[in-house]
Amino acid sequence: MAIFVNENTKVIVQGLTGGQGKFHGLRNRAYGTKVVGGVTPGKGGQDVEGIPVFNSVAEAVAATGADASFVAVPPKAAPAAILEAAAAGVKFIVCITEGVPAQDEARVFATLKRDYPHTRLLGPNCPGIISPGKCNIGITAGEIAQPPTKGGKNVGIVSRSGTLTYQALFELKQQGIGVTTCVGIGGDPVPGTSFVDCLAEFQNDPETSAILMIGEIGGSAEEEAAEFIKANVTKPMSAYIAGVTAPAGKKMGHAGAIVSGGKGTAQGKMDALRAAGVKVGANPTEAGELMAQIIKSLK
């Protein structure tokens, strides 16, 4: 099993005729993902290497039966694209767009919650999701992900940082550990899907034996995760938090990663996770090694 997406997930790409959408959409298809359509207003009837393009998400869904969407459009257009997908009945939306204003993210999140409570948004500004061997939506290079071994002990990954998501996949591959699903939730101020959402799914997924979590400075998402873990997660976990040495008051690359007013420090987050029973590594490699020990102890 996998969480959120699997071999049956049918995906449309919003922005398939654009540079990013085409590049990643085709890569996702090459990986084996069922990419059934694309959406670009005004370009309905065309195709991108055999993938039919539609004028609207509603048309695309009606024609293909898609249940997931990959939003790869510029920041100005992303909020409307997400809401269009939700209105068309798409249940799982992945938005990789970087640079969406925080006010738009807050408004989109509140709108989804009010009008489309059964739709899940992943992102914006996230690398996407991969259930290795089954489905890859987003920008992750599929070859660095180790598919799960049947009947073996496999790991679920949830990460707030893009490149560290790949690093985490890579570390587990080095250790020969299979991954059920790897979710990159993104580091923006209002992510559609949180650590807690993913932890709850992994806890309930029979194929996932342990969970690797990658966090970073800023906000309080890791602290909330720690509370949730304490109360609800029985599966063993390892974690890494980036930004121990980040100076206060400076944004580290994207809007989410900032230590302000003494809040959101890496140390505070590591302490909270340790108190919840999570094994915390000092760097991504150590977190991978800790996970290898966990997996060994399970056998």
């Binding site: 690093q167 998402a221 890494y240």
Partner: protein
């Protein structure tokens, strides 16, 4: 992007929030001219983005032309905690009956807007929060529903704002919320929000932080961006479109992705070094970007070694390697490079680096992040890299 007080007040004014009459001056003569125009007494306020201006002597009351001349003369050029005062804000002095506090931010945990309102203003709100948390009213505002006048009034009542000021405060809260949302602020704060003896409510200070991601729909922000105070390295990096933050160590850092860059800083620290900077070159580590990144790092005279930490996902290892080789042809580097290249096609990338004929003193390749960090730190600390 953090605004100066004068910019914050101008921004507030554009949303109808009452602020004191005033203008910004760069010289003593300009200061006097503004004071003459708006009438005495005036307050001369240093424009720096750091707290504690008043204590440092950066805020002075002036009753006439001569006092303006003296105070502006003292304040312009003054160093306040490392910030040199380039501008002063001259505004009409206000009589103050009471001081309150009001702010809007995004509560990331609740994924909603957050109003904080207190009848105890004019002091550090963190201190109020620590001493008397009940003195601050916190109200979540749903980003779709927005803030109604009646909800704002209720907040004012709950915060024990006196009856005579409640309507004035509520009216400003609605405008401040409008500024926060339509103005794309990360933070919109008034401290103090004052009640005048005449009964009017008015913003005496302005702290505004803007969301850079929204710049595309705010052409009026351009003058704000022009006054951002960056160090020389940060300015150079911005001109080249790089995500760079200057730090004070000796190991120059280049990584792809913010998380990996932060992680690189951490690992350098763990093995006994200090990073000179944070630099995220993003996904496409091509020759152009790598050249720009190396130029920025090279500009920093404290750098003793350069740690390039690349994890190829979409970006393939051989492209990164070609980029580095090309960049090293273009830039004469003052410090050796230690590179860790992993991920997609990393083997081929390493082969290209090895075959480029660059001397082992200038370019050292290490297989893992940790080993590369150790080598970079050893070089920076004056020890042999091997």
């Amino acid at each position: 992007m953090d605004l100066f007080e004068y910019q914050g007040k101008q921004y507030f004014a554009s949303f109808g929030i009452p602020v004191s009459a005033g203008d910004v001056a760069h010289t003593v003569d300009e200061s006097v001219a503004i004071a003459e125009r708006i009438g005495y007494p005036v307050v001369v306020k240093a424009q720096v983005q750091v707290g504690g201006r008043g204590k440092a002597g950066g805020i002075k009351l002036a009753n006439d032309k001569n006092e303006v001349r003296t105070h502006a003369g003292n304040i312009i050029g003054m160093d306040i905690k490392g910030h040199v005062v380039k501008r002063v804000w001259i505004e009409r002095a206000s009589d103050i009956a009471e001081e309150y506090y009001a702010s809007f931010t995004l509560d990331r945990a609740a994924k909603q807007h957050l109003l904080m309102l207190s009848a105890q203003g004019g002091v550090d709100i963190e201190e109020v929060a620590a001493k008397d948390p009940k003195a601050i009213v916190k109200l979540h505002v749903n980003p779709v529903a927005g803030l109604s006048e009646s909800a704002a009034k209720k907040a004012a009542v709950d915060a024990k704002i006196p009856t005579k000021a409640q309507d004035g405060v509520a009216s400003i809260l609605v405008k401040l919320y409008d500024c926060f949302v339509k103005g794309d602020c990360d933070l919109a704060e008034i401290n103090p929000l004052i009640l005048k003896p005449t009964g009017e409510v008015h913003a005496l200070d302005a702290k505004v932080s803007l969301d850079g991601n929204a710049a595309f729909r705010h052409p009026e922000w351009e003058p704000f961006a022009a006054t951002q105070e960056l160090d020389e390295r940060e300015q150079l990096a911005r001109d080249k479109g790089l995500q760079y933050i200057g730090l004070d160590g000796s190991v120059g850092i280049i990584a792809n992705g913010a998380g990996l860059a932060m992680s690189t800083l951490d690992v350098v620290n763990q093995v006994g070094g200090k990073a000179a900077n944070f630099l995220d070159i993003g996904g496409g580590a091509n020759a152009e970007l790598m050249t720009s990144a190396l130029e920025v790092i090279n500009f920093d005279t404290k750098v003793r070694s350069i740690f390039i930490n690349i994890f190829g996902g979409i970006t393939r290892g051989e492209e990164v390697a070609k980029g580095i080789v090309e960049a090293m042809r273009r830039v004469e580097l003052r410090a050796p490079i230690v590179i860790r290249l992993d991920g997609t096609n990393a083997d081929e990338g390493r082969r290209i680096l090895a075959a480029a004929g660059i001397s082992a003193e200038k370019l050292i390749s290490k297989p893992t992040m940790l080993e590369a960090a150790r080598t970079a730190v050893a070089i920076a600390n004056g020890k042999s890299g091997n």
